[in-house]
Symmetry: none
Subunit: 249 residues, 2 copies
């Protein structure tokens, strides 16, 4: 077998699986690992692969995973925000959680929209502040450094004494069986209160989080009225959720 053939084979494998192990390839082609390593060295010179301990990876994969300068899946979140914002009508009282998706929502609010927003997330509030016609009610309490959102009894009380038309819920994990789940107890308690205080609950979730589970259950699926993702409403990924009564947007 010629060297070029071998290298072509290696490239094909890498394009297929994004990575290879020197050991596996050397066995598959019954040559020594040294040979494979030398091939990889050459291919790296030309920029076709990236060598790592134990094998090599696709440079595109490498690039992809290592160059988030920005918010993860920002485009998807922008798309979600664009769709979600259509649900807000003038004069509504809206309560929102925090999270990067909510921030994108805050950024695309129409400037002429007149509404009242209840929110305990500092970054979200900062965005809301930029809109001239929006009234902001800050939910006050201890500020959780992790989530940059206020949590605690006082916050819960404040939410309880509120009847919102709409609740925008940043969703961390949603699953057809286990419903909506999250990983921070304080935040879960807060979100529960928000759901209870709202007529209509809108979940915002990038599709990646669909069919995933987090340690703490927030609510069963039927508490969520509308789920906004970057996919179209009839995407097969949403099929199970739609069957369970979720209305995708």
């Amino acid at each position: 077998m010629l060297k070029k053939e071998r290298q072509a084979y290696i490239l094909q494998k890498i394009n297929l699986h994004n990575k290879i192990l020197s050991g596996v390839i050397s066995e598959e082609m019954s040559v020594s690992q040294d040979t494979i390593r030398r091939d990889l060295a050459e291919l790296e010179q030309v920029g076709k692969v990236i060598k790592v301990h134990g094998g090599a990876m696709s440079p595109s994969f490498h690039y992809q995973t290592w160059s988030f300068d920005d918010i993860y899946a920002r485009d998807a979140k922008k798309e979600i925000a664009r769709k979600a914002v259509t649900l807000i009508e003038d004069g509504m009282v809206v309560v929102t959680t925090g999270g990067t998706t909510i921030i994108e929502l805050a950024k695309v609010l129409p400037t002429n929209l007149k509404a009242t927003f209840f929110c305990g997330s500092v970054p979200a509030i900062c965005e809301y502040m930029k809109h001239p016609n929006i009234e902001i009610i800050v939910i006050g309490d201890k500020l959780s450094k992790n989530s940059r959102i206020t949590v605690g009894h006082q916050a819960i009380e404040q939410i309880r004494s509120l009847r919102a038309d709409l609740c925008f819920l940043g969703i961390n994990a949603i699953h057809p069986e286990f419903g909506v789940s999250d990983n921070d107890w304080d935040v879960v308690v807060l979100k529960k209160a928000m759901i209870k205080s709202s007529q209509k609950v809108v979940g915002l979730s990038i599709s990646e989080k669909i069919n995933t589970i987090q340690p703490i259950q927030l609510c069963p699926l039927d508490h969520i009225n509308v789920l906004v993702t970057e996919r179209t409403p009839f995407d097969p990924l949403l099929h199970d959720l739609r069957k369970k009564g979720i209305q995708p947007l």
Copy 2:
């Protein structure tokens, strides 16, 4: 599993959920926590994550910066902040108003200072958030767009139920006869409550505001214990105020 794969997985998790716990990840991938910690250390080196006790979080969460570019008399305010910060001791409960001087104060807080800050000013809270050891209690209520501070009955109630060691008061006008005055009714009510709830009241004011009057009286001079300006304590400008019992710093 390759090291880079693991790190890519960690990054994805962090981008999805904003934080991870070393223990959880190490179980998910069945490697030791040491390995995860070392991965996190590497990722931190490259600035991809921020290590915290027990795991790591997304850096975009940590370094959200605010640019208040055109602050009037910033140098004077910086000097005031430097002096004022010496009054805070470990373990104190501090309540502060908003305003650019308070923001400068927030910026010069020693990183090792452990204290609790009550505050309703969004920009100030953003600054406080950058300090790892400070506990922040957000005073919640309607957000005044002008002053970017929460005002209203709920805020007053929250302040009333509080006993602070120290109150840092951004001062808009101070006069030997008319005392401290301001121009926003909501803010005045709020500051009054803060004064009442604090052992010691520290006014922060650039010298330019000394001997000026604003429409609404906030309090007589004797409610202010210490006045911090950019001048030295024995500056002639402060003479009248000192004679009235104010202690300049």
